[in-house]
Subunit: 255 residues, 2 copies
């Protein structure tokens, strides 16, 4: 098969979707990799164009048919050229950005995550995956948190973006409006998670930027500082690690 199935215009579109500005302009983002693409096709998200190998098209024919997507069969080599990742070689989906939804109030005993300036796409992807593992439905992000539709975030969250509601909002404007639920924050000088328990009520857990932590303006809304106890000498724990450990405590304490 000659490498001419994907036109120059299409390559340009695919590459442009690696950049937030163009994702906004086209109201679309990229999903790559067999597992994530198949999950996206089966979800409520709308796949507007599917680029895939003949094998992929054949293996997933019933799913592709149901989701009524524009399908373009291409070679693995072409898909690689259109992809952000060197390893992708069976499919690429252009997916419509979902309509923003209002932030839902927390249910009884529900905890949500709040990300104050997370910068690393791998960290955000991992945090979304952790939220999905622990059944946490919502993540509120400061406007300067890395875009969840960045291809690296989508790749590292392995389909979990389909199941967790992620909102970008001015956190400082959002939180003063809340008398309850309680707002917790991960600091180095808070209550020791090995000696303290999350109450069986709704709450928000704030995690801060990789190097600067939680901004002072956000910290002022935090009612309870919490800390993962340290037994050795590492200076810090990566924010995704901290999220995993905190979510594990939330579920252990409140389920």
């Amino acid at each position: 098969m000659p490498d001419t199935n994907i036109s120059k215009r299409q390559y340009k579109l695919l590459h442009s979707l690696q950049v937030k500005k163009y994702r906004k302009q086209h109201q679309a983002f990229l999903v790559e990799g067999e597992k994530s693409v198949v999950e996206t096709l089966q979800s409520a998200y709308r796949v507007s164009e599917l680029y895939c190998t003949a094998d992929f098209a054949q293996n997933y024919a019933p799913i592709i048919e149901t989701s009524a997507t524009k399908v373009l069969v291409a070679t693995a080599n072409e898909l690689k050229k259109g992809s952000h990742f060197q390893t992708n070689n069976s499919c690429l989906a252009i997916v419509q950005l979902p309509e923003p939804t209002p932030i839902a109030p927390l249910a009884q005993n529900e905890y949500a995550l709040v990300l104050d300036g997370i910068q690393d796409p791998g960290n955000l992807g991992t945090i979304v995956r952790i939220a999905d593992w622990y059944g946490i439905r919502s993540i509120l992000c400061s406007p300067d948190t890395v875009d969840v539709y960045n291809p690296k975030v989508i790749a590292s969250c392995m389909g979990s973006f389909l199941r967790v509601n992620i909102h970008y909002t001015d956190l400082e404007a959002y939180f003063p409006s809340l008398a309850a639920p309680k707002v917790y924050g991960a600091f180095l000088d808070g209550a020791n998670l090995h000696e303290w328990s999350f109450p069986k009520e709704a709450g928000y857990i704030v995690l801060g930027n990789e190097s600067k932590g939680i901004r002072a303006s956000m910290a002022s809304h935090i009612q309870q500082k919490i800390t993962i106890p340290r037994f050795g000498q590492a200076e810090s724990l990566n924010v995704a690690m901290a999220t995993a450990i905190i979510c594990d405590h939330v579920k252990k304490d409140t389920t």
Copy 2:
């Protein structure tokens, strides 16, 4: 300053140390980044050559003098060319590989990690950092686990490699020789960590390869399967996340 301080031969050496074969041949590895290089200079590791900017040489003169290293001042641009990472621009250290030490038996109540085929350098680096946070002194790795002296591992463990003993050994040959301590393994069908506690005694915790998990040959040495309970729909947790959560439980249960 002209960009001619680092010779072609030296660039060749620096680049070669990105590859395990040459690290073995030269019995050396690379440490990059200010924090890690400074910590290495202050450790028992022997830095054989330090490449750094004039600023770095000045700022850390007392430390550099004490560690009696061969120092070569270079420009940030030169250091970048010799580096594995685009962001490194103040220092690069060539460090001698340490002599292999025998695996120490576990102390009372000591838990150690066992890695069966971890492939991703970022995962290994993060696991070493977690071990350092939780005061876990030893990690045993199968021979096919990624090399801890890989520059990506060194970068992601942020100096923690200096404080955790990492051994590569034939795990299946090592474990049958042990009647005790007990060997635990992370599986999807083990004891629920939210309902079960690690005993206050010594133990090994086995974590498996990112996609294949723990090999059957290693699984046969595991006396207790353990599981991080899932509350949502993510198919799996990344192995470094799982390690963080398990180490947190070990310390909470046994301290």
